[in-house]
């Protein structure tokens, strides 16, 4: 059992997959010799050689395009898009090609590739280093979308993602790379060694896609969150002494709607928290499904606490970020509702 931060968990999982299977290649911008701007691929080129882990041109569409061709040829490429804000040039290749290749060819061809990309704000990255575009991929059938909130899950989910025969979007909350983050930028940063979730077993394990984690059980209200916001929600409910059930979705597509439904049927109240822009964010889908399935158990409308419908501003980063205060307000509103 090792203490790892999320970067180390991802890196060691990549190394394991590469050593187990020659067909696993890792590439992207600056991932080769340098080891990635967030260091997630550090050392892989040295260990596995130039051909297994290499730099690419700054061409997100090209990166995903070649990955699809490789995957169709039998490899298992794991590509990095340096920031998810820069994934849009690859959107056509992801949504029109990777996602639909299996279907349109009736499984004659398929595209087992994993796209890793950092998401979320909290690092003063401004509008182009802070986005959370998961909803744009959740809308595209044929893709799976995963987002771990801690090193333990990162390893288990990444192992599964790479071994999955469908394209998987693997979103990495960059603010969690080095430690959990409760939403308060003024507190000294904690490392993952301070958390039980930083304990990453040496043996390999897989977390199935589509199984949420009930981070904490509770009876008063259900909180649905993923990525960074899991810890903000956790802190907010703890601080407020709310008996909340916190569900870390981990996988958006497929979604563990059973766990969600059970919880909301129990608590009768639900708050959804995410960092992405509110309108048409993944929270909308969650709210829609929760009220579809749990309408008669609900004692208050399902509420969303999200990023505002503005670009992520640089100077006002912490006004944009849905921190504990906003989460607490959301919780209070739902708890107070008749």
């Amino acid at each position: 059992m090792a203490r790892m931060n999320m970067i180390e968990a991802i890196r060691s999982t990549l190394a394991y997959q590469m050593s187990k299977d020659d067909d696993v290649l890792v590439f992207g911008e600056d991932v080769g010799y340098f080891g990635g701007v967030f260091r997630c691929t550090d050392g892989l080129q040295e260990t596995f050689g130039l051909k297994r882990c290499f730099d690419t041109p700054i061409s997100e569409g090209g990166i995903v395009g070649v990955a699809i061709g490789m995957a169709a040829a039998g490899l298992r490429p794991v590509v990095e898009i340096q920031f998810s804000d820069y994934i849009y040039p690859a959107y056509d290749q992801i949504a029109s090609e990777a996602a639909r290749l299996r279907y349109r060819s009736n499984s004659d061809f398929c595209a087992p590739l994993t796209i890793r990309t950092p998401v979320g704000g909290g690092i003063y990255g401004g509008e182009t280093h802070s986005q959370s575009p998961e909803a744009l991929f959740a809308h595209i059938c044929g893709l799976k979308s995963v987002i771990p909130s801690n090193p333990y899950d990162a390893k288990g989910l990444l192992n599964t993602a790479i071994e999955t025969n469908d394209p998987v979007m693997f979103f990495e909350p960059k603010r969690l790379y080095n430690g959990p983050f409760d939403g308060d930028p003024d507190k000294p940063a904690l490392g993952w060694d301070s958390s039980e979730f930083g304990e990453v077993p040496d043996e390999e394990y897989r977390i199935p896609l589509g199984e949420a984690r009930v981070l904490r059980e509770g009876n008063a209200i259900t909180v649905l969150a993923y990525g960074t916001m899991v810890w903000v929600a956790e802190a907010a409910t703890r601080e407020q002494g709310i008996d909340a059930e916190i569900i870390d979705l981990r996988s958006l597509i497929p979604l563990d709607i059973e766990t969600i439904q059970q919880s909301v049927e129990k608590t009768g109240r639900c708050v959804i928290v995410h960092e992405a822009t509110r309108t048409c964010g993944f929270g909308a889908e969650l709210a829609a499904q929760v009220q579809e399935r749990c309408f008669y158990s609900l004692e208050a409308p399902v509420a969303r606490v999200c990023g505002w419908d503005t670009p992520y501003p640089h100077a006002l980063e912490w006004n944009y970020f849905p921190g504990q205060k906003r989460v607490a307000e959301g919780l209070a509103k739902v708890l107070e509702a008749a």
Binding site: G65, E97, K144
Partner: protein, 425 residues
Amino acid sequence: MHDRRTILPIDEKPSSPELHIPEPLYRPGDKPDFSHIHVRRSDNLERPDVLVDSYETERHAGGLIRVMNMDGDASGPWMPDISADTLRQGLRSMLTVRLMDDRMFAMQRQGKLSFYLKSRGEEAISVAQALSVRKSDMVFPTYRQQGILVARNYPLKRMMCQCLSNAGDPALGRQMPTMYSSKEYGFFSISGNLGTQFIQAVGWAMASAYKNRDDLAMAYIGDGSTAEGDFHYALNFASTYRAPVILNIVNNQWAISSFQGIAGGQSKTFASRGLGYGLASLRVDGNDFLAVYAVTRWAAERARRGGGATVIEHYTYRAEGHSSSDDPSKYRPSEEANAWPYGDPIDRLKQHLIKLGEWSDEQHAELLEELSEMVRETYKEAEALGSIASGTGIDPKTMFEGVYEHMSPKLEEQAELSGVGSWRE
């Protein structure tokens, strides 16, 4: 009438910046006249060693590699080593494609198919290329390379069933007509999104090189579609990683209603684009079966011997409308196809074979009859399996399958809701 400007020659410049909108030479009502195009064999374009440096192909990218003249005589440095049997095989495939195209188009007009797309005038490109590479070389086609499947002896009936969207379609009617897919025949699933296959082919080729196999990838893109980002990605990645891929640009002069000048073909040949990326680049008479065959052999050998990618521009003409949805008389003179100076690829190969003493008008007529009959009969068999007019016979349940490797609970639920039953039983 429409106020049309003549094309400014490359070397003539207006005296101040002015928004320049390129226009084709002829529009409906004009009499197409290509007499300024000097059609001759360009013997001055030597056949360099396959591992030559890319910059030594500059003249090949700007010129036009030809082997046959318009009378069917063939000679010159690019004259390939090819048997009369192979040529006859090519002729047969080309004719099959054309007859099938005609048949399917007619059936589209009768409402049996929702759509069809011919390759008339471009048959030499796909057929000669199919014969010049291995079957294990993966092709990343556009919708106008049906000739490759035919030349690789893919069952015609299966193609027709695909077009009819019926139960005989291996892809369950999921795609529009002509969007074939066959891993077995080395034919990558065609995408409706133009250009995307070009960079995917590079990835396939990189995988091949990574595995130290000497199979290559062969990709196609239309003149119009070269404007997509994927074209640039492909040339760039192919250059950087020295991928064993043949990057074919089929310049058939038109992209639906837009002439090739809109894609930037007026100022420089499309093949020339390759040079800037350090790729060997050749431009070939796409209606010259022998020349297409020869340049493809060259490019394939280059790729297999580690020389990396070659860009090939096939200079040809889309002799009919873009597809069954198009009416080309709306934007170009209807006589333009006939006036096109590079002739018809089938006629030219036939002529060549006759000159060789390996073919005759009688044999040709017989073959035509045999193939017409075969196409007709095959179509009947195919249509018996259904059509969008008579019912496709495709199980609605299949709609929910294959989105993922395994059926997801969400899709199961939707399938149940749709009334097609459940996978749970």
